[in-house]
């Protein structure tokens, strides 16, 4: 990752003055600083998450201008509602992704189907978040969900990518895949049930090793 010019600009102040780089602060601490109104920590927070937030918006909207507007709205919402973040429900990155997805879906209900894009998204899955700031815990969480997605039959995985990442409704999935609406609904429901079971199993397995 390129050198963050902000770090140099604020190095003479407070946390930075003592040699603690902003990048070493946890996601939760950065969010607290952002939501409480600290401008330097806000810049660091936005820079840490902007590619993930923008990526979620772009996946749903498929339009860079619309995606930027939604990404901005998502950061504004995170600033307003930072105090409602609950670490027990997921990482800061996941929380931001959910905010962004919901805003993006509300923005457009007429997303065009692009089957090639679905294949590309499925192929890109194993990578997961790989930025230096990404916490080990979040990386593990990412591996769990991608592993679970890869265990799904292809038609169900496609339905989940279309609905879960591109924000398509069941009828849009049906049109994109040239299948009946009932089949699309069944694929989404069955796949979500399997993912939930897989993740629950991973969670139990993880704790049985404690």
């Amino acid at each position: 990752m390129a050198l963050n010019p902000i770090s140099a600009r604020v190095r003479n102040y407070d946390v930075r003055q003592m040699g603690i780089p902003v990048s070493s602060l946890s996601d939760e601490a950065l969010l607290a600083g952002y939501a409480s109104g600290d401008r330097e920590l806000a810049v660091a927070f936005i820079r840490r998450f902007q590619s993930r937030v923008y990526g979620v918006a772009l996946a749903v909207l498929g339009d860079p201008t619309g995606a930027e507007d939604v990404a901005q709205q998502a950061f504004e919402r995170a600033w307003r509602h930072g105090s409602t973040y609950d670490a027990r429900r997921g990482s800061v990155g996941t929380w931001l992704a959910a905010i962004t997805r919901n805003l993006a879906i509300d923005t457009t209900r007429v997303r065009k189907a692009d089957p090639i894009e679905v294949d590309a998204l499925l192929a890109a899955l194993p990578a997961g978040p790989n930025e230096p700031e990404t916490k080990a815990l979040e990386a593990e969480s990412s591996r769990e969900i991608t592993r679970a997605l890869r265990l799904l039959p292809t038609d169900q995985a496609r339905a989940i990518v279309l609905a879960g990442m591109l924000g398509m409704s069941a009828s849009q999935v049906a049109a994109a895949e040239s299948i009946p609406l009932g089949t699309a609904k069944t694929r989404i429901r069955t796949a979500m049930g399997r993912l939930r079971s897989s993740l629950r199993y991973e969670h139990l397995a993880e704790h049985s090793n404690d």
């Binding site: 601490a29 409480s36 969900i145």
Partner: protein, 242 residues
Amino acid sequence: MTDYTRSDSHPETLAEMALGVLDPEERTSVLTHLASCPACREELLELSAVADRIAAQAPPAEPPAGFEDRVLARIDSQILGGTSALPRNRWERADRRTYKASGSRRSVSWKHLAAVAAAAALLLGAGAAIGSAATGTSSTVASDTTGGWSASLLVGPSGPVGRVFFDSDGHPWMSMGISASQVGTLRCELVSPAGKVIVLGTFQVTSQGGYWATYIPVSARGANTVRLVDTSGKMVATATMK
């Protein structure tokens, strides 16, 4: 609950609801059902957690240059335009704070950053960053009577091992730094004078030390003792908040 083949009496669209892709009419129907069905509410919560993790798997993409400036400008306009329900001084501009921090008017964000800075300083062994250096005889090392923050020593069996900073302004929160003498996973608990224990969460202490911050839930109001407990249940440090 684990069976996703549901009976007719329960909606089959909870997965679509969790993914946020259900059309408004169907959503209304599901919401009506949820009002009287705890099992479906629980299932929706679980499916929503899955849906959120799926959304987070979208490939990252760099936004156009200057994105963060536009986000900050957007938030500035919310505050200055008076459309925000938040206090206007919530967003403290860096330049103003840098030059006025030593004055009588300390902003909330200044206090927050001071707490973070002090906790961070501890990790480097820089000693007390706020107020006078602690001697170990008094657990509270500094406080700000005009605001809501205070700093206390985290004391282990053989002496001080870190500090905890508490800010009661707005949404109360606390941050703490602990030395590398307690490497491993620590659970943070708040204890009320009546003995009620509220678990706030866990964090890792590495060979570089540990730093953690969290909001304090309403249920923990009145609690005045912070406890850090290791995975075996042994209390490794405690601090008393003013």
